[in-house]
């Protein structure tokens, strides 16, 4: 019998798990994929929003501002990449200035600090490549960028070393209420628990509907992105948003914490929760809109494109009323609460933007709900810090030299583009909740994430994984399931 089972190992689920590991609780995280960070958390903008977007009083507003404030300390404690580079919301039309002021007022009501309207001259100082039509902007110095994989993996690893169990490849197929808790059925087995946390991302509606009479519907909102070479990563230093206009929401242009340039996303509601295809139209739209914000983004510097799904609640019947995006009268907020007709079942649903920014606060918020239910003892052995994998390409020459002398594997470069060494890849495999797939290696070390997109290092990473895991290379997958790279020997000529 578990005290808590968290369904979903995305950033929200892992943040909850980590907060719970501060207490003497038997906690399990169930994840249907082969690794943490395989859903919405892996394909998004990687932005730590300042907190001016959401309506004052909403959970989105509250957790965003709180999460933003906690991010710097958390990134130090858990050793993941984060940078407070400041956000800028561009206004392209004098007529829209009111809306810029509105945004500023909303941000101030939410408690966002340092907001300022800046004019084109200052804008140009801050961003020399800014689009010609930008007339003014809202400047938010607290906006930042974070490595979405880095934070999720860090939270998960820290939870794990503090005693939280993780099980992968476990798809929840049913949940039954029983005396003192719930029975969770997966494709393989059954688990008993007192409390359930539903952090299932775009599937949170299905999990919710297994226990509650008030039905929820999540329609994934697909966003397509383009990622550019580090050569052009310094074209912008702030995250550049576009003030929403009658023509649509606009796209962002931002440096990433790793030094690339990112543009996107589109926003298309799609029926399939597992459809992550990019499209010619979508990517074309991103390119076109991004050009408004930043001049001269060179198309030939694109290194990859991807699509991610935001868990957007389109319908939620609650207390006889219907909320969600379909209804204007109720706000379009996260749903983080103990489900009224399912005691001990806690939804962490609708975690679309700014879900990533909120994660540090979401974890605490949910843990507080659970504390009231289970009244747990403090875990005195809790270790709050975690050391990440060394990034050899960022280390000083002296540090690198010492590391190689200590272990020669750090002297062998496997991924040329990102200069990732064998030592880093071995760390990624053998650390807590280590990588078992090439995507797992990529998100932990960046091997394969560079300009050649694993063309060079893929066979080498597959070889290392197979050797270290003691399996044949044909068993190494990109991301679990049927994502094989090479055929078994038996099938060869």
């Amino acid at each position: 019998m578990y005290d808590v089972i968290v369904i979903g190992a995305g950033v929200s689920g892992c943040a909850v798990a980590r907060e719970l590991s501060r207490f003497k609780l038997k906690t399990l995280v169930l994840e249907k994929e082969s690794d943490v960070c395989e859903g919405t958390s892996k394909a998004n903008s990687g932005i730590v929003h300042a907190g001016y977007d959401a309506e004052p009083g909403t959970l989105k507003a509250k957790l965003n501002v709180l999460g933003n404030r906690k991010m710097a300390a958390l990134s130090k404690e858990l050793d993941f990449s984060y940078k407070q580079n400041g956000s800028i919301v561009l206004c392209f039309d004098e007529k829209d200035r009111d809306r810029l002021e509105e945004l500023k007022a909303r941000g101030e009501a939410n408690g966002v600090e340092g907001l300022r309207i800046i004019e084109r001259a200052e804008l140009l100082e801050k961003e020399p490549n800014i689009g010609d039509d930008a007339v003014a902007a809202l400047y938010a110095p607290t906006g930042g960028i974070v490595c979405p994989f880095g934070i999720t993996i860090a939270l998960a690893e820290n939870a794990f070393v503090n005693g939280v169990e993780f099980k992968f490849g476990e798809t929840v197929t049913g949940i039954q209420k029983q005396e003192g808790g719930y029975l969770i059925q997966t494709k393989q087995q059954t688990f008993e628990t007192k409390v359930v946390v539903n952090a299932a991302g775009v599937y949170a509606d299905q999990i919710h509907n297994m226990v509650s009479a008030s039905k929820m519907e999540i329609t994934p909102r697909k966003g397509e992105y383009l990622l550019y070479d580090k050569n052009v990563g310094n074209m912008a230093s702030h995250t550049l948003f576009q003030l929403p206009t009658a023509l649509g929401k606009g796209v962002l242009v931002s440096p990433t914490v790793h030094g690339n340039l990112l543009t996107g996303p589109t926003a298309t509601d799609i029926p399939d929760k597992n459809e992550k295809e990019t499209s010619r139209e979508g990517l074309g739209q991103v390119t076109q809109k991004a050009a408004l914000s930043l001049k001269g983004i060179p198309g030939r510097q694109v290194i990859t494109s991807f699509a991610g799904l935001r868990a957007h609640i389109t319908k939620f019947e609650r207390n006889g009323a219907v909320s969600g995006a379909e209804s204007k009268e109720m706000s379009d907020d996260f749903v983080i609460e103990e489900v009224p007709d399912a005691a001990g079942f806690i939804d962490v649903a609708g975690m679309e933007s700014p879900g990533l920014s909120c994660a540090p606060a979401t974890g605490e918020y949910v843990a507080d709900i659970i504390k009231k239910i289970l009244n747990p003892e403090e875990n005195r052995d809790f270790v709050s810090t975690r050391k990440g994998i060394i990034n050899m390409s960022l280390a000083t020459e002296k540090e690198r030299h010492e590391k190689i002398k200590e272990n020669p594997a750090y002297g062998k470069v496997i991924c040329r583009c990102e200069m990732v060494t064998e030592g880093e890849i071995l760390e990624a495999i053998h650390r807590p909740l280590g990588a078992t797939t090439t995507d797992g290696i990529k998100r932990r070390t960046r091997a394969g994430m560079g300009r050649c997109q694993s063309g060079f290092c893929n066979p080498r990473v597959v070889e290392i994984l197979a050797r270290e895991l003691g399996v044949d290379e044909s068993e190494i997958k990109k991301s679990g399931g049927d994502a094989w790279y090479i055929l078994p020997f038996e099938e060869e000529r």
Binding site: L226, L227, N231, N274, K276, E277, T278, S279, R280, G282, L283, R300, V302, I303, T304, S305, F306, E397, K398, R400, H401, E402, I404, K405, P408, A409, G411, K412, V413, R416, M419, R451, C452, Q453, S454, G455, F456, N458, P459, E463, E473, S474, K477, K478, S479, G480, G481, D482, A483, W484, Y485, I486, L487, F489, E491, E492, R493
Partner: protein
């Protein structure tokens, strides 16, 4: 550490530059190579077609590499393998920062540096092909490495995008190893490869070449399940309504090469947008003092023979610079780039009487008619090879075969091989089955006979590369 000349990259360009500098009197020099052996990409290009200019004979990639490796060894030119250069700075002296397992991070001062890092392939992302992101999308070179170096197969049913020589060669290679290559799609209205490669890599195996077609969507959640192929208009834009779904588990991309110039840029070298390589003067010196460039890092070459030739010059110029000091840099000279091959086979060709000769890269269109006395009238060939080819082709077609043989106890898993002569076309399958059934013991030297009388012929299968015994650390 100090030396006169550092060559970054031990592929064909690096080795030729080193040898030329050595001949000019620079005996204190060093090749830095990131892989575990010299030879660069040639080691995985196990097919035939290299060396016609340099050695006046047709060699496989590994054979071409071995010739240079032997010369480098003979002159005792030192090299550091498994060594990654992380930074280059020009001037007097130049400073190269590198790392490897044994020495950690280290700096070497040199009077001059030759950049010979080669190029990389354009990735799927760089081409912006929409769709899902499953496993099974490989650049042709990655697949080539799996098949020819690792001895493993990266797929069963294959679509190749791009009909340059690498795409064509890989279509054949995958077929020979048992895969079904469904088609080669090419966005241009012509192939970028040689005529003879269209004949011997596609036509021989009935693989269709779809000109003016491209991949417009990749399907499959975990592994590739298929691709959408569309016809393109004369502006290369996909034409709506022409989409065709092709089921496959593998997409190979052979869509161009990009000079690998991160180090050059780090050194502050001015770049040429047209070649994607550094700007150089008549002496192949970049805009950074003491740093020279040659081979595919300077611009993408079609022929390795041309790489060697250019690299020799770079080696000589670097030697000259070391011995005689800096002259006036002069003006920028863009390297002569051979016009891209634009190859189509004549559409109205009568397959019964007209042939494309595969004897050399020219690809003559040869017409064969039967005289009244039943002898053959062969016209259109421009050399004797063509006549012999046409005669054979009409009576008993023959082909040379290149592949790999598994090695036990070697530092690698397989060694490249070729048939020492041509064998009947109909015996290729049997030949490959016999090759696949054999495992040899290391060491293997290029030229070793590994199978005699293959497929019932009098032809033997010989190694084209070296495979030393594994060294256990």
């Amino acid at each position: 550490m100090k030396t006169d000349l550092i060559i970054i990259g031990g592929g064909p360009a690096g080795m030729a530059a080193a040898l030329a500098a050595y001949e000019k009197g620079i005996k204190d020099l060093l090749i830095l190579e990131r892989d575990k052996e010299l030879g660069g990409i040639l080691n995985q290009c196990i097919h035939n077609g290299f060396g016609l200019h340099t050695f006046k004979e047709e060699l496989t990639g590994p054979e071409y590499a071995v010739r240079y490796m032997d010369m480098v060894a003979e002159k005792k030119i030192p090299s550091l393998l498994n060594t990654m250069v992380v930074d280059v700075q020009g001037g007097s002296p130049c400073v190269v920062t590198a790392m490897n397992r044994e020495q950690g991070m280290f700096k070497i001062e040199a009077k001059a540096v030759v950049l010979a890092m080669g190029c990389r392939e354009r990735s799927r992302g760089a081409m912006n092909i929409p769709g899902t992101r499953p496993a099974g999308v490989y650049s042709a070179g990655t697949a080539q490495r799996y098949v020819n170096i690792e001895g493993r197969m990266p797929g069963r049913e294959v679509v190749v995008l791009g009909s340059g020589d690498i795409g064509l060669i890989m279509a054949r290679r995958m077929t020979l190893q048992g895969a079904k290559v469904k088609m080669v799609a090419e966005i241009m209205p012509y192939s970028g490869g040689l005529k003879r490669n269209i004949v011997q890599c596609l036509d021989d195996f009935g693989i269709p070449l779809k000109l003016s077609h491209t991949v417009t969507q990749i399907h499959g959640k975990e592994r590739v399940e298929g691709v959408t192929i569309s016809k393109v208009d004369d502006k290369l834009n996909p034409i709506p309504g022409t989409e065709e779904f092709v089921a496959c588990d593998t997409l190979l991309l052979s869509c161009g090469l990009i000079p690998e110039n991160e180090l050059s840029q780090g050194a502050g070298a001015q770049m040429d947008d047209m070649t994607s390589g550094p700007v150089v003067n008549a002496k192949l010196e970049t805009t950074v003092q003491g740093i020279f460039a040659c081979g595919n890092v300077l611009h993408v070459h079609d022929l390795v023979d041309n790489v060697s030739k250019e690299a020799e010059k770079a080696g000589e110029f670097a030697a000259d610079y070391i011995l005689n000091g800096e002259e006036d840099w002069g003006e920028a000279v863009r390297p002569k780039i051979a016009e891209k091959t634009k190859c189509t086979l004549p559409e109205d060709r009568d397959a019964g009487s007209q042939l494309i000769c595969i004897g050399c890269p020219v690809g003559c269109l040869i017409t064969v008619n039967k005289n009244e006395d039943r002898t053959l009238a062969i016209t259109g060939n421009t050399c004797k090879k063509g006549e012999a080819y046409a005669r054979n082709e009409m009576t008993a077609p023959v082909r040379g075969v290149t592949s790999i043989i598994r090695v036990e106890g070697g530092s690698g898993r397989v060694v490249p091989v070729k048939t020492a002569g041509e064998i009947p076309k109909g015996r290729i399958g049997q030949c490959l089955d016999e090759i696949g059934a054999v495992t040899v013991k290391a060491p293997v030297k290029a030229g070793d006979v590994l199978i005699q009388n293959v497929a019932g012929t009098s032809v033997s299968v010989v190694a084209t590369g070296n495979m030393p015994v594994a060294i256990c650390l």
